[in-house]
């Protein structure tokens, strides 16, 4: 699927059917996870703080205050720029974006306009259908977050706690061709932000927010039609739903011979619908000019190169490498690079294990990820280390324990913190593979069930599995299945 949309045929019974494609650009606002705000010493995170408690003269925009730039915000912004393959400018500038809004205490937002920290860049987004969409970046700059407003009883309530949280505003070219592609871009962006450790990227908490610019055009055409800007689409699902709804609305308009107007729409999450902001609000002239209260941001080439050199391998690169170097299926590679801890966990375990990556992948995807989800921990927070996992698999492969014991053992290691080898030794979980011991058990089982032995020898070979189960029960699951099978076959045949 290439993201093409067919209009509903009922609406246009006569004439040839037009096929439309969506043209979507996303404007994301990413809260950086610094300790403090971008221009003052208030803490950046005020989640669940009472309103207007995490404020100071600077972020509350009192008369006379001045901004002082947080070094860490620049560093994290530069990391993102580098990871997006953007140029990190050695000299960038802050500008004032002037507008009135009650959540903007100074009446202007300190942002970056024409000489921002990042220049250009792109993200190659693999789509579930198998193709890759390159999404180009047209803007990547630092700015301050505004406060929050909510409406109660016809009044607007304003909370400034969020004012001044460092943001990266990142805007894509209109390169996305469907609601699903838009959702995939956001999923990959969120993964990248967490991978880099520069944002918690929790959309529910507003760490990652999104506005979508949506237009449509007949498939095959290259021009851009008037777009609408949908504000406040703040979950992956909302982006998908809002885009689908707006694409349908625009197609219906065009099919009815009407024009799409460049409106600003508000996504109402509670009711799953779009609302139009009054058109006056959309006629903005921000009168950008250089922020006189801040000097140009000057970084050295060494500083920039250091940022680039210390970037980790990025998730999509690692995903490709897992497929290439380890021969993992795309599905496995995707899951094992979902976040940085799990991918590092996998590679550490692989180094300790040294065996077939796919075998390890199965163990991790089935056992470790389940454990991780049940406990609500990331891989690096598990007591069960990659070395433990490798140890368990090796014991299974050496026949010291069987698979079932191995799986149970992983849980025991996680709960106790004790090395798996030690648990096997102390609890006697070692596999019974000694011929004499196994034969004694088999003889006992046969002696206890003469009827079943007769039936088997009369041709009821399906009973073999039942005999295997009896032996396993007697040995508490420790019997080496291979050896047991061979010995049992001999014994049943009376050899």
């Amino acid at each position: 699927m290439s993201g093409k949309l067919k209009h509903t045929p009922e609406r246009n019974k006569e004439g040839p059917m037009t096929e439309y494609e969506a043209v979507i650009g996303l404007e994301t606002h990413i809260q950086l996870n610094t300790i403090t705000k971008i221009f003052c010493g208030c803490k950046a995170d005020s989640w669940e703080d009472p309103p207007n408690t995490n404020i100071c003269p600077v972020c509350a925009g009192l008369p006379g205050v001045l901004p002082v730039l947080n070094e860490e915000a620049v560093r994290k912004g530069a990391r993102l720029a580098a990871a997006m393959h953007a140029e990190v400018r050695l000299v960038s500038y802050f500008d004032r974006k002037n507008y009135f809004y009650p959540d903007l205490p100074k009446g202007f937002q300190i942002s970056q306009f024409d000489q921002a920290l990042g220049n250009g860049g792109y993200l190659d987004v693999p789509m579930p259908e198998g193709y890759v969409r390159r999404v180009n970046i047209t803007k990547l700059h630092l700015e301050e977050d505004a406060g929050k407003t909510k409406i109660e009883g016809g009044q607007r309530l304003v909370d400034f706690n969020r004012c001044g949280v460092p943001l990266v505003e990142m805007v894509t070219e209109p390169d996305l061709r469907s609601a699903d592609e838009a959702a995939q871009y956001l999923i990959r962006l969120r993964q990248l932000l967490r991978w880099l450790g520069i944002s918690e990227a929790d959309m529910e908490k507003g760490h990652l927010r999104c506005d979508a610019n949506v237009s449509i055009r007949p498939v095959g055409s290259m021009y851009l039609n008037p777009k609408t800007e949908i504000k406040n689409v703040n979950s992956i699902e909302a982006v998908r739903a809002a885009a689908v709804m707006e694409i349908e609305r625009q197609i219906a308009l065009v099919e009815a011979g009407r024009r799409v107007e460049s409106w600003t729409l508000d996504w109402d999450d509670a009711h799953n619908r779009l609302k139009k902001m009054r058109s006056k609000e959309t006629e903005a002239d921000y009168r950008y000019f250089r922020e006189p209260d801040l000097l140009p941001v000057v970084v050295t080439a060494e500083w920039r190169d250091d940022i680039i050199q210390h970037l980790p391998e990025l998730p999509l690169e690692r995903r490709a490498r897992f497929m290439e170097a380890y021969g993992l299926p795309e599905y496995d590679a995707d899951i094992l690079t979902a976040d940085r801890p799990i991918s590092e966990y996998f590679e550490a375990a692989l180094a300790a294990y040294g065996g077939d990556p796919k075998v390890l992948s199965n163990w991790i995807m089935n056992e470790v990820l389940r454990m991780q989800n049940e406990l609500g921990l990331s891989a690096d927070a598990l007591t069960l280390t990659p070395k433990h996992v490798a140890g368990v698999i090796k014991m299974v492969e050496a026949g010291t324990i069987n698979v079932a014991t191995g799986k149970a053992l992983l849980v025991k290691v996680q709960e106790s913190g004790t090395a798996p080898e030690a648990i096997v030794a102390s609890e006697g979980l070692g596999q019974v593979s000694d011929d004499a011991a196994l034969l004694a058990v088999i003889d006992g089982v046969l002696a206890a069930h003469p009827g079943e032995v007769v039936s088997y020898r009369d041709g009821k070979e399906g009973l073999f599995g039942w005999f295997m189960g009896q032996v396993m029960r007697e040995t508490h699951g420790k019997a080496d299945p291979g050896k047991t099978r061979a010995l049992l076959q001999k014994a049943l045949k009376g050899q």
């Binding site: 010493g41 003269p57 730039l69 409406i151 508000d266 902001m277």
Partner: protein, 106 residues
């Protein structure tokens, strides 16, 4: 010379600036703006010097006279309540302002 700022343009500026005026005030301000613009237009005759680098402020800051960026360390404000106490209308620590009307899409 015709007025650069016509009554129409003036009205647009007033709207952008979030002001309201009575006609007498408006006429005074528009007259003064146009007078000032005549002075500003002197700049049109200046032969700009491409050699002179553009700066947002007069003083140039040598690298050693530029203050360092702020370290990312929390310095809690001692009196957020004093800040909030200045707001004209507050309920439950929220600052209250009138609403901005929206219209529903069909």
């Amino acid at each position: 010379m015709t007025d650069e700022i016509t009554p129409e343009l003036f009205a647009k500026l007033v709207n952008l600036a979030a002001f309201a005026f009575d006609p007498k005030e408006a006429e005074y301000l528009r007259t003064e703006l146009n007078k000032q613009l005549k002075a500003i237009r002197q700049l049109e005759s200046v032969a700009l010097d491409a050699e002179v680098p553009l700066a947002s402020r007069g003083v140039t800051y040598a690298p050693e006279s530029r203050p360092p960026l702020r370290a990312d360390a929390w310095t809690p404000c001692e009196n957020p309540d004093e800040i909030l106490a200045q707001a004209p209308q507050v309920v439950d620590r929220y600052i209250i302002v009138p609403n901005i009307p929206h219209t529903e899409l069909e």
